[in-house]
């Protein structure tokens, strides 16, 4: 099985989509001649031409709205909003149009659109470029949200998202693009809508996603040295959440720690904690713990950024602090 970088896996996914269906087009800032802000569309303009690999002006609301209109009109656009930070300018189009039209129109209008955006921090680009706001989209009925954490998922989730008749947001953690992993060439149709157990364990359930998976697995190894057997669950899909898988794991381990790079208040970890309180209350031996970013705008200085973000140490401490 070949080993690819996450970036290359994304590029191959987009290329396969463009080649496989002439309704598919890629629209976004610098996706064409520049080859993509994270080099995920290098060479695609040359291969598919400017109509289908379309550089957009810096008008996020405009080109995301256009993507929605084109999807309504029968195309299958992949709109790349460079980072989740800039997607805030297109929130109205995503929430008030993409997520709403099918239901509000009584079923007449569907929006088969995929919106990709980078997310997360870790490259010292400071607060305005370091947000993890995927939970905002996971909050909205009418949207689906995927968070590929591995090159394999990055390679194969796009196809499933494009096949879905409703809008799908794919968040790709900025620190993952350079990571490598095995990518199975053409698996049976990948199911992106359920969580995966990345490490079996008996003593505690660590629930995480996207850019935090690696840290959580590292923490699990450190805990193993102290004979604490941690089970690591990669959510993969942030809406709908695979509540059954999480609840089943906690029924076994009776302890849960949720690791998320978003902020703790009203965050993804809060939702998972609420689900466990509602559906696994009688299995809980200790309160659910959450490891999230410090409640501050992510700072520029390295030592401050590292202190703000979830770390292996903080995950290990949280597990040991369960009482």
């Amino acid at each position: 099985m070949p080993t690819l970088t996450y970036r290359e896996a994304v590029r191959q996914a987009i290329r396969a989509a463009l080649a496989g269906d002439d309704r598919v087009l890629l629209v976004g800032e610098d996706v064409g001649r520049y080859g993509g802000a994270y080099a995920c569309s290098k060479g695609l303009l040359e291969e598919f031409g400017p109509e289908r690999v379309r550089d957009a002006p810096l008008s996020e609301s405009g080109f995301v709205g256009a993507g929605i209109g084109a999807a309504i009109g029968g195309l299958r656009p992949i709109v790349e909003v460079m980072t989740i930070n800039f997607s805030l300018l297109a929130l109205d189009q995503i929430v008030n149009n993409a997520a709403t039209l099918r239901h509000m129109s009584g079923g007449q209008v569907g929006v088969p659109l995929v919106i990709r955006m980078a997310t997360g921090a870790g490259r010292q680009v400071a607060a305005q470029h370091s947000h993890s706001l995927e939970v905002w989209y996971a909050h909205v009925p009418g949207l689906k949200v995927l968070a590929p954490a591995t090159p394999h998922d990055a390679r194969h989730m796009l196809a499933a998202a494009l096949a879905d008749p409703d809008p799908v947001v794919i968040v790709e953690h900025a620190m993952l693009y350079a990571t490598e992993g095995e990518v199975e060439e053409s698996p049976a149709a990948l199911d992106p809508w359920h969580a995966a157990v990345r490490r079996e364990g008996r003593d505690v359930t660590l629930v995480t996603s996207g850019g935090s998976l690696a840290k959580t697995l590292a923490a699990a190894e450190r805990l193993a040295a102290d004979s604490i057997d941690a089970e690591v669950i990669d959510l993969r899909c942030l809406r709908p959440l695979d509540a059954d898988r999480i609840v089943a794991s906690v029924a076994k381990t009776h302890r849960a720690v949720v690791v998320d790079e978003g902020w703790k208040t009203c965050g993804l970890a809060a939702e998972i904690s609420a689900i466990l309180m509602e559906r696994a209350f009688y299995d809980l031996d200790v309160p659910v713990a959450r490891v999230a970013s410090a409640e501050v705008p992510i700072p520029y200085a390295k030592h401050l950024e590292d202190a703000a973000l979830p770390s292996v140490d903080r995950i290990v401490a949280a597990v040991k602090g369960l009482a």
Binding site: H254, Y282, L284, D285, V286, A323
Partner: protein, 414 residues
Amino acid sequence: MPTLGADMEAGTLVAWRKQPGDALHRGDTLAEVDTEKGVIDVEVFHDGVLDAILVPAGTRVPVGTPLATIRAAGEPAAAPVAAAPAAVPVPPGPPETGEVQPAAAVAPTLPLPTPPLYAPALDALGRLRISPSARRLARELGVDPRLVKGTGREGAIARADIQRTAAGLPAAPQAVAPVAPAVAPPAAPPSADRLDRMRRTIAAAMSRSKREIPHYYLSTTIDLHRAMSRLDCENERRPPEKRLLAGVMLLKAAAMAIREVPELNAVWEGERVVVKPVVHVGVAISLRQGGLVILALHDTASRSLDDLMDGLRDLTARARAGRMKSSELADSTITVTSLGDRGVDAVWGVIYPPQVAIVGFGKIVERPWAMDGGLFVRRVVTATLAADHRVSDGHRGGLYLDAVDRLLQEPERL
């Protein structure tokens, strides 16, 4: 399903005393619930209208299960299709009825003279600090969580504690029957079964108390001449139903004397002792065919003897009919046990957790009494005090009994 004490896991709803649509006022009895301790009246704590009954009569449900919904007067009835409400834990422990200021806010917290050997894992409202999973495991393994030493935060009991206790239990049949026996043998006649269960419940509390609380004991003999002669002449003038029992005077004196040594009127809450501002004397009432229950005679110190007599008569009648109120079971702040006209000269009590003291009165008897150089025949009673040495000491206990004595020498002030 209100929790009526740390040892209650579930209750059987015997009968509804109100029907949907009935107006409810604070203090009304909503339903009757059978527990190890007999049938308890479930009280309503705020006005409203009974909306819907969720648990039919005859059903046994765990503590915390919602029994009914109450809506504010004037609100429309809940839509029939309302989804079953999620299990809403009832606020642990009945609220202090009659208390104006929250006990904790006013009561000074005492510095503990010595670190506690082991405090029961009780949270602020006297509920056992135990994780949901450990509680379920305890039920499955037949372990009584009240006898388990918690190793979690603030003494919380975790699964491991249950497993360790289950493993550590002697092979002999459990000292305490499993809280909810898997199959209650229906064959046993209900009263015998209840007696057995009650006996086991009392046994558990007493054994824990004896093992964990360092008791010290004091006694004194009190001349009741003035008190009894005042009582006799009072009763002469009264019809039978209005006559006062000597015991009522003793109860009131015991309550009023707390003023001198307030720390005796306190309860353990987790690791701390909280002195209660109001005295609710727990009256030990013996039941027909044996068995005993401690019921609070609320606000004992400030009520008239007549009021206390009526209160005591009502408590005794309802205790023997097995119909006690949840607040009466949980509110007592200091227990008084008196053997009345039968039994022996002195009774040395065992403190009833989470209280910190118990007063005993023996039989009222005639004894030779030397006073002012002369010898008289006087009716006297032996008063005893058993108290928790972690909270008070012999000197303070002595002051208390002396105060009881002095109060009984001025019966008109009772």
